[in-house]
């Protein structure tokens, strides 16, 4: 059992006082980020990223992932107590969580949410542990055509499975591609799209873009929609938690089904938001209690929470192993990896086992830390929401701009962040997905490089993308996903009864 030995080694790396302290700090920050509306996991993580530049990569990734877990838990808390999803991925939790809280079962709802979230996260990490050893063996088989096929698969699955309109997703990806093209082009060794501006020579930092898109853009939307806070006091007693825990096994079917959905959506880049909605929808359809969903049904909390966390954790695997992020937050972390001088991809498992297994081990630990912390600190964080938004909103704006400046200490980036804030707002208003654009900004030029390198190797023949079973499988899968919306429509038309 190679995986187990590596995992134990990873625990050795992760279990130092410093790392555990970072986990606690990360989870606390994440809870804060998750609880505050208008500040989600992707922007929370991107704001922290500049602080990690001087840290050791293992410590840095532990801090960032712990923040992510904390944000996922924090998002559910406000969904249940205030009917305000702190995270897009916890929207589905409000459907049954808030009704439960209104019926005076807030403790029960929170315990269900945290325990099922913990279970989902665990399922995701176990999956990563089992698959990692297998992924590493593929490492050296990957050359430019294979890399391009994987990137293609990532973009195609966003288009085919992302949930948003395929055309809007393509527009979003296209914008991301053109932004990624600014600056030095390593294939031709020339500068592109800098229009003679010195500020554009280094290219456009995806970090600044993310801060603008997610932070500022979302904030404006939150202000516009008006924030109604109608909170319910939360008190958690150990007895209630234990009683709920004892009740969990009764929901085994919902747990497993949601876990499976979450893992699948995390590994294909559906992301936690899509996973939680899908899981809720399927639970409603297949559960015996489906008719009571929406009125405060525990399974209506368990299903989206399990899937949300399972997707959040398993999204780390494609990010590490292939350099393909499964969620918006892991897209931000992917950027971080490159900044720390690590090359995401199958070679990472061979070149930096300390990093990979330290991270995987820390995911077990940090999720345990997170469950313990949320159960003890929920009332405190819930109190934050009683602070008027007029106070919280400006603080978020300041944090966003400070974050944008710390990326490279350039004034130009502040304007860039502001511009991206406007873009983010417009995207939200017109219902365009932001994640595909971020993905294209992060891996867009890598995809382009891989494509052109492949064609240089084959002297211009596209047959190189079908040259061996590995790349053929990846490309075919990508094409299938890309055309999926079209296929689904054709099938629907064919099935329609002829009048």
């Amino acid at each position: 059992m190679d995986g187990i030995a590596s995992l134990l080694h990873g625990f050795g790396v992760a279990l130092t006082a410093y790392h555990v302290m970072l986990m606690v700090i990360g989870v606390m920050l994440g809870l804060l980020v998750g609880v505050l509306p208008g500040l989600g996991a992707p922007n929370g993580v991107s704001l922290l990223l500049p602080l990690t530049f001087t840290m050791d990569p293992v410590a840095a990734i532990i801090l960032l992932t712990s923040t992510y877990w904390g944000a996922l838990f924090g998002g559910s808390t406000t969904s249940i107590l205030f009917n305000i999803p702190g995270e897009p991925s916890s929207v589905a939790t409000t459907f049954d969580g808030y009704p439960m809280a209104k019926q005076g079962r807030a403790t029960e709802a929170l315990s269900y949410a945290f325990l099922s979230a913990g279970f989902g996260a665990l399922l995701g990490v176990v999956l990563i542990t089992l698959l990692s050893g297998w992924v590493a063996r593929f490492a050296l088989k990957f050359s430019s055509p294979e890399y391009f096929a994987v990137y293609f698969l990532a973009f195609a699955s966003f288009i085919g499975l992302g949930g948003a309109s395929p055309l809007k997703t393509i527009v979003s990806i296209g914008l991301g591609f053109s932004l990624a093209a600014v600056g030095m082009d390593s294939i031709s060794g020339s500068l592109r799209l800098s229009y003679g501006f010195d500020s554009l020579v280094p290219g456009i930092s995806f970090l600044v873009a993310v801060i603008g898109l997610f932070g500022l853009g979302e904030l404006v939307v939150t202000i516009e929609e008006g924030l109604k806070i109608d909170g319910i006091r939360a008190r958690l007693s150990l007895r209630d938690v234990l009683r709920t825990a004892a009740d969990m096994p009764r929901h085994w079917l919902a747990l497993l089904r949601s876990g499976a959905i979450g893992c699948w959506m995390g590994i294909t880049p559906g992301g936690p938001t899509a996973a939680s909605f899908m899981s809720y929808g399927l639970a409603k359809r297949f559960s015996r209690k489906g008719a009571r969903f929406g009125q405060g049904e525990p399974e209506g909390v368990i299903s989206p929470e399990t899937a949300d966390h399972a997707a959040g954790t398993s999204a780390m695997l494609p990010m590490l192993a292939l350099g393909v992020p499964g969620s918006a937050t892991s897209a931000v972390m992917l950027g971080g990896l490159m900044i720390w001088g690590l090359n995401p991809g199958p070679m990472l498992f061979i070149e930096r086992p300390d990093f990979v297994w330290g991270l995987i081990a820390s995911m077990y630990l940090a999720n345990v830390v997170a469950v313990v912390l949320v159960l003890t600190t929920v009332p405190m964080f819930a109190a934050i929401l009683r602070t008027p938004f007029a106070v919280i909103g400006p603080i978020i704006v300041v944090v966003c701009f400070v974050g944008a400046y710390t990326v490279a200490s350039r004034e130009f980036d502040l304007w860039l962040a502001l511009a991206f804030g406007v873009v983010g707002y417009i995207f939200k208003k017109l219902d365009y997905p932001i994640a595909p654009m971020v993905l294209a900004m992060v891996i867009g030029d890598k995809a382009e490089d891989a494509f052109r390198q492949s064609l240089i190797m084959s002297k211009g023949s596209p047959a190189i993308f079908w040259a061996n079973p590995l790349v053929t499988t990846l490309m075919s899968l990508g094409l299938l996903l890309l055309l999926w919306p079209l296929i689904a429509r054709l099938v629907a038309v064919a099935r329609r009864p002829i009048p």
């Binding site: 050296l140 088989k141 050359s143 430019s144 020339s190 500068l191 070149e351 490089d449 240089i456 190797m457």
Partner: protein, 331 residues
């Protein structure tokens, strides 16, 4: 207003220095080391080693901040130097791209925007093949490439950079032709060679050492006038010193090396340049510096003043010839 302030600051520093009578110029605020590569790159390691040595031996009265400005293959850092003209608190770390980049890329900076301080080491280039191939020596590999032009793949860093320049040089002296595949950097080129997706590369020792130790790549020859220092064995039966020079193996290139260079912005006082020359000289004499060049298998060589100027002029002319031949020069 700013200029008056600076004049006052400079004259204050001057009067203090003349009182101390040790150095004509001393930094008066934290020094910024501008790195023209991203974190983890060769230039980044170089600057951070210098920073740690200066810190350890307390060679500077002021602290040092390292900032990475590696965008546009280093152009970002050099453009920053140009906008900091006259500011002697900014030290720029680079390679020969400081004077070669403007030849091949349309950038707003010119070599005149920099004041040379020193070159501290020369990074070596080797010809490597993948262990999956049957080639054990340079002659058989070159003969095979000659027999089938544009079939064998040479991997390297981005286009028009040192790796492709060297590839072009070998092509013209040996009468061969590769398919040159540009990757993101030496690291990626090393992995691709290890996987057998390319046939050879011209990586620096430090970029391929991991793959060599793992038995995935094989060194054929080194582009230097003499063999590398022997040192301990890297693999079971070979060390760096066992690799023949490319000249011995029949490739008529005397040497191809990349200097690790230090610069100041233009229009800085001459005694400020003298301060940094002295600082870098002291750094290059420490055991930590020797440990760094040995570990990364570079050749220690401290050059400054007229010697550096001559080296730059020669290196510039040699590279320019290749750029001209390949049609890479920007108008």
């Amino acid at each position: 207003m700013l200029r008056i302030g600076r004049t006052i600051a400079v004259s204050a520093a001057l009067s203090m220095a003349s009182l101390a009578a040790a150095h004509a110029w001393q930094p008066t605020k934290p020094i910024e080391f501008v790195v023209t590569s991203g974190p983890g790159g060769g230039t980044d390691n170089f600057a951070r080693v210098v920073q740690s040595i200066v810190g350890k031996y307390k060679l500077s009265p002021q602290p040092i901040i390292v900032t990475n400005k590696g965008g546009g293959s280093g152009a970002e850092g050099y453009i920053y130097a140009r906008s900091s003209s006259g500011d002697p608190q900014k030290v720029i770390f680079g390679t020969n791209n400081a004077y070669l980049l403007p030849h091949v890329v349309k950038t707003p900076f010119k070599p005149d925007d920099l004041t040379p301080v020193a070159a501290m080491a020369l990074d070596e280039f080797l010809l490597w093949v993948t262990s999956q191939s049957e080639f054990k020596d340079t002659k058989s590999y070159i003969a095979a490439v000659k027999a089938k032009p544009e079939t064998y793949k040479m991997g390297g860093s981005q286009s028009k950079d040192t790796d492709q320049t060297l590839t072009s040089l070998i092509e013209s002296v040996a009468g061969v032709k590769w398919i040159y595949v540009p990757f993101q950097g030496g690291g990626a080129a090393a992995v691709q060679l290890a996987g057998g997706h390319t046939d050879s590369n011209t990586n620096n020792p430090n970029e391929n050492i991991g793959q060599w130790k793992a038995g995935q790549v094989r060194p054929l020859c080194v582009f230097s006038t003499t063999r590398l220092p022997a040192g301990p064995k890297v693999t079971a039966d070979m060390g760096w010193g066992d690799i023949p020079t490319c000249k011995e193996e029949g490739i008529a290139i005397d040497r191809f090396q990349m200097p690790r260079t230090v610069w100041l912005p233009a229009k800085v006082p001459a005694d400020a340049v003298a301060f940094y020359v002295e600082l870098m000289k002291k750094v290059s004499e420490t055991p930590e510096w020797r440990e760094y060049v040995t570990r990364t298998v570079q050749t220690p060589r401290f050059m400054t003043g007229a010697e550096l100027k001559a080296f730059v002029a020669e290196d510039d002319a040699n590279n320019r010839k290749v750029f001209e031949k390949e049609g890479w020069l920007v108008k």
